[in-house]
Symmetry: C2
Subunit: 110 residues, 2 copies
Amino acid sequence: MKLISRKEELVLLSIWKLRDNAYGVTITDQLAKTTGRYWSIGAVYDVLDRLTRKALVAASASDPLPERGGKSKRLYRITKDGHQALEEIREIHDTMWSDLPESALEFENP
Amino acid sequence: MKLISRKEELVLLSIWKLRDNAYGVTITDQLAKTTGRYWSIGAVYDVLDRLTRKALVAASASDPLPERGGKSKRLYRITKDGHQALEEIREIHDTMWSDLPESALEFENP
DNA sequence: CATTACTTCAGCAATCCTGAAGATATCTCT
DNA sequence: AGAGATATCTTCAGGATTGCTGAAGTAATG
């Protein structure tokens, strides 16, 4: 199985954190908050589409709400395969980051 | 500053681990060993070129060795900016992976 | 010139990115 | 009630960056 990309990992984790309230806008906000970086809304939807095609997430439509702009949202949940992909990436991360030599810094930037 | 990609992170960590012996072939072997996946040699050189252009690594030529195939190798070291990029990604990883709800698995695969 | 080890190369596939435009709900005004 | 105004969420087109492959090229010794 191919490793998931960095964005895919971060989007999956955002969905996990948002529990029942994970959709395009809240996911984007969560990413911005947690990473301290700007995330284009379109870029997030792009990753969500990819994760859906790979069946690492599944989507469902929420009921419309009786409030301004309360149109139906597309809610996302992580699938079993999605959790497995996260577990794989976590293991590799842990392995790669363990047993590093004390310091490798010998060259400065040009 | 833009986040480094997953491949860039893994290649940087491989160089770190290999200390004074980090070049195309040993880096590829190290990645295969640590991730348990096949890495095309060309793909690794591609990432190394990119990291060099971004000044996250610096390269130098080793002396040729008096043995079969002992031609000069291109050795890589991580620069100060490279270490900083790793530190950034580690912080974001730690933040994203902390405080996750107990379980988010409610949907199975289709 | 055979063999070994290392690097380059061309070109295609996948991922990442942007923000304006579109869709669907309620609110406000006459 | 009807007609915009406003709010929230999603789609879209197209370009930039990153990822991938293995055969061919280079430079050393046997």
